[in-house]
Amino acid sequence: MGDSKVKVAVRIRPMNRRETDLHTKCVVDVDANKVILNPVNTNLSKGDARGQPKVFAYDHCFWSMDESVKEKYAGQDIVFKCLGENILQNAFDGYNACIFAYGQTGSGKSYTMMGTADQPGLIPRLCSGLFERTQKEENEEQSFKVEVSYMEIYNEKVRDLLDPKGSRQTLKVREHSVLGPYVDGLSKLAVTSYKDIESLMSEGNKSRTVAATNMNEESSRSHAVFKITLTHTLYDVKSGTSGEKVGKLSLVDLAGSERATKTGAAGDRLKEGSNINKSLTTLGLVISALADQSAGKNKNKFVPYRDSVLTWLLKDSLGGNSKTAMVATVSPAADNYDETLSTLRYADRAKHIVNHAVVNEDPNARIIRDLREEVEKLREQLTKAEAMKSPELKDRLEESEKLIQEMTVTWEEKLRKTEEIAQERQKQLESLGISLQSSGIKVGDDKCFLVNLNADPALNELLVYYLKEHTLIGSANSQDIQLCGMGILPEHCIIDITSEGQVMLTPQKNTRTFVNGSSVSSPIQLHHGDRILWGNNHFFRLNLPKKKKKKKKK
């Protein structure tokens, strides 16, 4: 899906008149989403890399060389459909969107972005789409506000191109935890139509040119950022409250690829002569690149960047759930081969920009080991229970399963019912002096009690019966510990605790009572840990307070 990825498109302009007149060779072609750059000079030796065609794949390739080749030609409408629509939607959803344009002067960059009066480009289409929708959707429940700003980034400095005072003051880029990245003091002007935007843009461009001339700078070496902020206010008529969604649309004209190289401004290219004093200033770039590559995926490095403003700019565009598109424009002419190749490479690298949302994972080893142990335990319990289960237990399990299947109640209801039953049961048990034992609950140390034994480990030692001074055991309602089932008589047995703390068991006549495996028919003193069987399958163990018993939480 590549949601977080930058969508990269390349567009090829038609030959211009001069090129056509000179019969300049065309070296670029498009095949589906691939751009093929053919060698200029076919006479090069076979081994020479310059003699081989180069192929680059992108998200979109727009072949706009000849309008008459209808099936191949990508016009302004197609470019907008592929790149603009999605981005517009995103702005309305309250997210950020950004389009970067990159390409040598004369490669059709402004045609793609601005277009002409009858062939409008991306920016006018985006804007008219924006205003069309805001006007259509505006009502008492929602309103829209559109503001624009226009700035230029040159040599790490930010200038406001819409500053009414026309001051050349450089502004600072900042970040705010709630408002995000912002430019301190940048003017934001409210607009109501594309016309407003158009005139502001052309004003800004004028100011850009003037500044460049005054400062002896080249406009092609500066990035220009036109930002549209869409504030969508929703009113809740009933409650009288309102909420806001803010989406930002950035249109970035990246510094040109051509003259920057020629002047060596980009850094890696070092010059002699007049620049000799400055040439080593690029040492920092080289060292940064080295430090950068050394770490690979490892995040453990800090590389102070020199072009922090561009970093900042990209942060704004790549930070959240934003959509980012980049459109690179190239010329098909052979004499632009070098520029075209470098633009295609640049775009190729942009393609690989994925915002790894890298979270620092902790090694999972411990939790895995932990869970493995539990899985083992569960498995063991399961197999044990299966091997040892009595027919009765199996029946009961099946029965309850049937019951559950028959119940067509929802899970929540089921849980609620379970809870009700459990509560009822607990009340009942409490009245009988029985406490329900569950893992993690410690039994009072100072009490004498019986605890149930069961072949199924999951059912074992779950029930606790506290013993009073005189405890009656049997199936009748009058008994203190009520048991039912095979072999239990209404009055089955009595357990007494003497004043010295001795525990005496007295079976009723003709009852099935076993202590530690031997049948008992007359009173007998019990000791801590003695096993008692009443009837056919009521096993218990006696616990006396002398020894503390610890139950650990798992």
Binding site: R259, S279, A365
Partner: protein, 646 residues
């Protein structure tokens, strides 16, 4: 030479030089190379005035033209030959002109013509390469081999890799390797030439431009030396870049290091700029685990940075844009951040080599490393000797003084780790002075995350579980407030990172408390409550992380993006586990928790079934989830029976 109008020649040459120094943007927009072309015309005139090149009396060049083809100039000459006599003098003068013509053509993008001129220049000089008169020119001409690389090879770094995580920024040039190697050959030859010259001659050579200067304007020895050394420094720097292109990164780093060293030696640096470069270079070294070199760079960075304002910038340094206080403080903060990474990486590296398979201290490994320590100390001197050392005398002492305060060896116990931790923490505070949350949100958070990471790795060395718990608590205390105000519209990714990290920290604390409870004779309800609270908090933050994946309509995506797939699955897995670990006396609650746990395990299994590509991201976790999905229902069933039974 009587027939050569010498004054005219000199005048024209100076004019040409002046023209070629005109900055390009001063030219008309449509003719960016106007000044260069005028300079070229003048140079051609001078060349004509000087007359034809002298016949190369002895061997004609045996090899064809072209820098790669001929073996001319690249081998070292056997002896020093001074250009004597008018013929030789004229050859050298012509060579200077050819050199400038070559540079001129390269500047105007006519690479092959430029190449021709340079080759001519080198041919004219070939006999006198090592001479006092010609060495500098020769090296400069050869160095042009570097600028002659086809332009696409000189890759610009426009997308800041910090944001983009690009790797291998410069390594995409395999196809053109051959040409880089040509440049390399030229530059290496120049390096060798320099070394030989310094050994055999040593006196500062003539600067090429002097040839067309009147006698009285000739340069002083000192100036000559300065220019010549500068030429060589650049040569080293170009080699650094060539090695980088060739992906010989260690060598590239070595040459950058040497370039920095020469800048110090020749007092040709700006303190802030130099310091930040040295500090950045340390980041290369820490990732190569060369901690001694990293420490050296960082210590030198501190010392040189301290010179800011004390030493007036020399004329060789770029304009003092660094005098702005803001930049000063920024760089200070950045150097501090480089130090933090040093401390952190060294500690983490120690942890890696001493932990067992579940991330606990392995005592055997620890004693093994202790035994190794002696050997490491023995080798210290030899490693130091191999490394490039900055500065001499006082400067060297000052750097050593910084170095002595911090270890470059992996910490082996808590005490040693604590030393590094404290240093790292000191730099955290220093970095935070500049990178405040207000204005530098992302940077500030990164520093805090490093601080948290320092605590985390320190906790590894701590044996007392209660104290370890406290360290994690400190981490949470510093991270939690960050998330409160962070607008996810802009800081989605960093928000996720923090949520994940806080969740992990709570999980670790819970594990520790369980272990502590395990050891207690009488675990009371108090500790149970604590464990459950930690569990709940961990759950909350994993849930926040998972919620951040929802689309604008709050729907959890059908398909999770590949960048968050693994974290999302891990979060689900941990959530499932956490529900299974809640301690409750209430069987109904217990059953509920088991059901929720099952639900999350099921999510993982179902998702991987639908999206097979997800399975390979979390193999082990998936296998265990499948087990749990098959076992948990039985457990729950039994639990229900148990409840019904009573």
């Amino acid at each position: 030479m009587a027939n050569v109008p010498w004054a005219e020649v000199c005048e024209k040459f100076q004019a040409a030089l002046a023209l070629s120094r005109v900055e390009l943007h001063k030219n008309p927009e449509k003719e960016p190379y106007k000044s260069k072309y005028s300079a070229r015309a003048l140079l051609e005139e001078v060349k004509a005035l000087l007359g034809p090149a002298p016949e190369d009396e002895d061997e004609r060049p045996e090899a064809e033209d072209g820098p790669g083809a001929g073996d001319h100039a690249l081998g070292l000459p056997a002896e020093v030959v001074e250009p004597e006599g008018p013929v030789a003098q004229r050859a050298v003068r012509l060579a200077v002109i050819e050199f400038h013509l070559g540079v001129n053509h390269i500047d105007t993008e006519e690479l092959s013509a430029g190449e021709e001129h340079l080759v001519k220049c080198l041919r004219l000089l070939r006999r006198y390469r090592l001479s006092h008169d010609c060495i500098s020119l020769c090296i400069q001409a050869q160095r042009q081999g570097f600028t002659m690389l086809p332009r696409p090879q000189v890759i610009r770094l426009r997308w800041p890799p910090k944001v983009l995580g690009l790797q291998n920024n410069l390594g995409i040039l395999w196809s053109e390797r051959e040409e880089i190697e040509t440049a390399q050959a030229y530059l290496e030859s120049s390096e060798a030439l320099y070394n030989q010259y310094m050994k055999e001659v040593g006196s500062p050579p003539l600067d090429p431009t002097e040839r067309f200067l009147p006698e009285e304007e000739k340069l002083t020895e000192q100036e000559r030396s300065k220019r010549f050394e500068k030429v060589y420094t650049h040569n080293l720097y170009y080699l650094a870049q060539v090695y980088q292109h060739l992906e010989m990164f260690e060598k590239a780093a070595h040459y950058c290091h040497s370039t920095l060293k020469r800048q110090l030696e020749h007092n040709a640096y700006h303190p802030i700029e130099w310091a930040i470069n040295a500090a950045t270079l340390s980041q290369f070294y820490i990732n190569k685990l060369c901690f001694m070199e990293a420490r050296h760079c960082l210590s030198a960075a501190n010392v040189i940075f301290g010179q800011t304002g004390k030493i007036s910038a020399t004329e060789d340094t770029p304009e003092a844009e660094g005098e702005v206080p803001e930049l000063y403080h920024q760089r200070k903060g950045e150097i501090a951040r480089c130090w933090i990474k040093y401390c952190l990486t060294l500690m983490q590296n120690a942890q890696l080599s001493m932990q067992d398979n579940i991330g606990e201290l392995d005592l055997d490994k620890q004693s093994e490393l202790r035994a190794l320590r002696k050997k490491e100390l023995d080798e210290e001197e030899s490693i130091r000797k191999k490394a490039v050392q900055f500065g001499t005398g006082e400067l060297c002492d000052a750097i050593s003084a910084v170095e002595e305060k911090v270890s470059y060896l992996r910490p082996l116990d808590f005490e040693e780790a604590r030393e590094l931790f404290l240093l790292g923490q000191h730099y955290v505070f220093e970095a935070k002075e500049f990178f405040q949350i207000d204005g530098y949100v992302t940077d500030h958070i990164e520093v805090v995350q490093d601080h948290s990471a320092l605590f985390k790795v320190l906790a590894f060395f701590e044996t007392d579980m209660e104290r370890r718990c406290k360290m994690h608590k400190r981490r949470i205390a510093m991270l939690e407030p960050l998330t409160v105000d962070l607008n996810p519209q802009y800081y989605l990714l960093v928000n996720r990172q923090i949520q994940f990290e806080i969740a992990h920290a709570y999980y670790d604390m819970m594990d520790l408390k369980v272990a502590i409870a395990d050891r207690l004779r009488d675990p009371d309800s108090h500790i149970v409550k604590k464990i459950n609270n930690l569990n709940k908090s961990a759950l909350k933050y994993y849930q926040l992380f998972l919620d951040s994946l929802r689309d604008p309509n709050k729907v959890f995506p059908e398909h999770i993006g590949e960048d968050v797939l693994r974290p999302a699955m891990l979060a689900k897995f941990r959530v499932a586990r956490l529900y299974g670990k809640i301690i409750t006396a209430d069987p109904k609650k217990e059953l509920e928790n088991l059901a929720t746990s099952l639900e999350h395990y099921k999510f993982i299994v179902d998702y991987c079934e639908k999206h097979p590509e997800a399975a390979q991201e979390i193999e082990v976790e998936l296998e265990l989830s499948k087990e749990m999905v098959s076992l948990l229902p039985t457990k729950m069933e039994r639990f229900r029976t148990k409840m019904a039974l009573t």
